[in-house]
């Protein structure tokens, strides 16, 4: 590797390789090496994220809403209540003020929805053509709120795997918003802040949560299973894949399990709490479509296996390289 490729930003195995072979040679703080969505500080969680989505506006959201939700969700899946956010804007010379205002209004709205305060911000302007409109970098601070620690080392065979709704909406929304491939279907992104949903399960035993963003459900489940003594088994007939998502994926040769989501959470719930968690999720607006999609197994350690509709099985691998660049 002597140059960064777009594939290194895809969130899949190439991204992991860049992190391992380059970043971790220089940045070696034990909290960073945990590779969680947010760092666990004493009594707090702390996270950061950047947003380079193209186009800036897409059905169901925009870069501002995405920045708030993405940051809030990274804390929520650590079992932490999001409290404070920072937002830094890199804006291109000539950017229309009306669009900036629209994005800021959207940030304010998403902030209220997630009940977080945006307490510091920064702006830089670069020459025309150097930032493709706007990039946003955010950071967030939250407070652990789950009774039992959300720690993947506590995952056990028999635990249930829950998902709160349909897959692939964000990735396909942004893709179709680009107007490429002659696709005209409008699919609304699922971008949403998840703490309101997740906190309802704070008294249950939930050893693992992750928002399946870049790399999709396949990436998340593989991160869960990787190098563990347990396996993951999901059932194809339980996966909620909307018709439009399936159609676009068929057309372009994508696996819906590789497509990014921005309002979904994968929850591993201890066996005895799994049914209760499912009921709780289904009572919430963002959890109406919740399903139990599979289990943690003692078999196939380290691997993700899917029981197919044809009564067979296959393994589920994370995507390699760049599926859809600049999706978030």
């Amino acid at each position: 590797m002597d140059k960064i490729l777009l594939a290194h930003g895809g969130g899949g195995s190439k991204s992991a390789e860049l992190t391992r072979l380059v970043f971790q040679r220089f940045l070696r703080d034990p909290l960073l090496l945990e590779m969680d969505d947010a760092a666990r500080l004493p009594g707090q969680v702390f996270t950061t994220d950047s947003f380079v989505v193209r186009p800036l506006f897409f059905p169901g959201g925009d870069i501002g809403r995405l920045a708030v939700c993405g940051t809030v969700n990274d804390m929520a899946v650590m079992g932490a209540e999001p409290l404070y956010l920072s937002m830094a804007f890199i804006i291109e010379e000539g950017f229309p003020l009306a669009q900036l205002e629209k994005i800021l209004a959207s940030i304010a709205r998403a902030g209220r929805e997630s009940n977080v305060r945006i307490v510091c911000a920064d702006t830089k302007v670069v020459e025309k053509g150097k930032a493709d409109g706007m990039f946003i970098t955010s950071a967030g601070i939250g407070r652990p709120a789950f009774q039992k620690p959300v720690l993947s080392s506590r995952v056990r065979p028999g635990d249930g795997i829950l998902l709160n709704g349909p897959l692939g909406l964000h990735g396909i929304s942004v893709l179709t918003a680009r107007g490429e491939f002659g696709l005209r279907a409008t699919v609304k992104s699922d971008v949403a802040p998840l703490w309101g949903l997740i906190k309802k399960c704070r008294n249950l035993d939930v050893p693992f949560m992750r928002d399946p963003t870049r790399g999709g459900l396949a990436q998340t489940l593989n991160e869960l299973a990787c190098k563990k003594k347990f396996g993951v088994r999901i059932r194809e007939d339980q996966l909620p894949i909307p018709k439009k998502v399936a159609a676009v994926c068929d057309l372009l040769g994508f696996d819906p399990l590789h497509i990014a989501n921005e309002g979904k959470v994968v929850m591993v719930v201890a066996r005895r709490d799994a049914d209760k968690a499912l009921k709780i999720l289904r009572r919430q607006p963002l959890g109406k479509g919740a399903r139990r999609i599979g289990e943690i197994t003692a078999e196939n350690p380290g691997r993700v296996v899917m029981a197919t509709k044809a009564g067979s099985e296959r393994i589920v691998m994370p995507p390699v390289g760049e599926i859809l660049p600049r999706i978030c």
Partner: protein, 350 residues
């Protein structure tokens, strides 16, 4: 245990089918290869049935020298447009993906018409890498005609188009142990059923199949049944997309712009009249005539057995590089690069 559905009942019939010993079915098409492994159909086969992948993945059968030509064009400052899968294929020294990171103007497109639009918008010399089979060739021919009609003179094609029936002919002459073919759905929609009649002369059955699990399993059942009974026919099990005569309009556009030419296939070698080149009347669109393309090629990669995989002689794990030196995240051979390649499908879906 999942409840029984029409699909699981069909799957049970396949599992329990009394197939003859040493039955070897080839699925020709890369999309079928992926679908079979995504649905896990290879695990449903009776013990005596082996399913092997054929030469139907466009990226896989395109020779490495073609990548070298494309890289040479990109380095000359030409805008190179291509189906995305080609970008990661290693040429002799580099890939288009690496050249893009190094600053060459290389763009992934989903249709040659997008490439034509890029040419119209950017005004620079723009070349589209014309790879694929009878499915993509008519669309590329249409783009060529449109370029002439709209007088977009900075657009040209670097061609490596291939034809399926000549490759199957070459295969059955070389390997007599095949019992039948699962025939490609999309290609057949263009060329029609009659294009495979030659198979029956070699006492081989073929079934044209769609891409759902139901399509593929029922097609395999048809094939196994014909093989058991010694019936050698071509059956169309995908009538909702394939007509017996194919798509005559597409074939006419294809024949207007292209003519058959002897062509080199990765793994299969040179096959007579198995490729397409631009007819002399369209020579102005031929990138090889428009530009001087100088390439040097390195010796073929040692150990890579894509050629044998493409001929259905070995399963991917029999290659010494499989999932060791050659993996989806750093592929050496094209069968690992292409999402439709059988090596990639074996790793991805198990």
């Amino acid at each position: 245990m999942a409840e029984a559905t029409a699909l699981t009942r069909l799957a049970d019939r396949l599992r329990d089918f009394p197939a003859r010993p040493d039955t070897k079915i080839m699925e020709v098409c890369g999309t079928h290869t992926v679908a079979i492994r995504r649905f896990g159909i290879q695990r449903l086969l009776p013990e005596t049935v082996q399913l092997v992948s054929g030469p139907g993945c466009p990226v896989c059968v395109t020779p490495g020298s073609f990548i070298d030509e494309a890289v040479a064009l990109a380095r000359q400052g030409v805008t190179v447009t291509s189906f995305g899968d080609m970008l990661r294929v290693p040429g002799s020294f580099t890939s288009l993906e690496k050249e893009r990171a190094a600053g060459c103007d290389i763009r992934a497109v989903y249709s040659p018409l997008d490439a034509l639009q890029i040419a119209a918008d950017c005004g620079r010399e723009t070349v589209f890498l014309a790879v694929g089979f009878e499915t993509t060739a008519p669309v590329i021919a249409a783009a060529a005609l449109k370029a002439l009609e709209k007088k977009i003179t900075n657009f040209s094609l670097l061609t490596a188009l291939r034809l399926v029936p000549p490759a199957l002919k070459a295969l059955i002459v070389a390997d007599t142990r095949l019992s039948g073919f699962l025939l490609p759905g999309h290609v057949s929609a263009v060329i029609g059923k009659a294009a495979y009649d030659f198979l029956t002369e070699h006492r081989l059955p073929g079934v044209i199949s769609g891409f759902t699990a139901e399509d593929i399993i029922s097609s395999l059942l048809c094939l196994l049944d014909m093989h058991n009974k010694g019936i050698y026919k071509i059956m169309n099990n995908y009538p909702r997309a394939v007509r017996d005569n194919g798509n005559e309009k597409s074939m006419a556009v294809l024949a207007e712009v292209f003519e058959p030419v002897d062509a080199e296939w990765r793994g299969l070698g040179a096959i007579p009249a198995s490729g397409l080149r631009l007819r002399p009347a369209y020579a102005a669109l031929d990138a090889r005539q428009r530009f001087t393309i100088k390439t040097e090629s390195a010796a073929p990669r040692r150990g890579c057995r894509c050629g044998d995989v493409l001929r259905g002689l070995i399963d991917p794990p029999a290659c010494p590089l499989f999932n060791k030196g050659c993996r989806p995240d750093r592929p050496l051979g094209p069968c690992m690069v292409s999402s439709e390649g059988s090596c990639s499908a074996w790793v991805t879906y198990g």
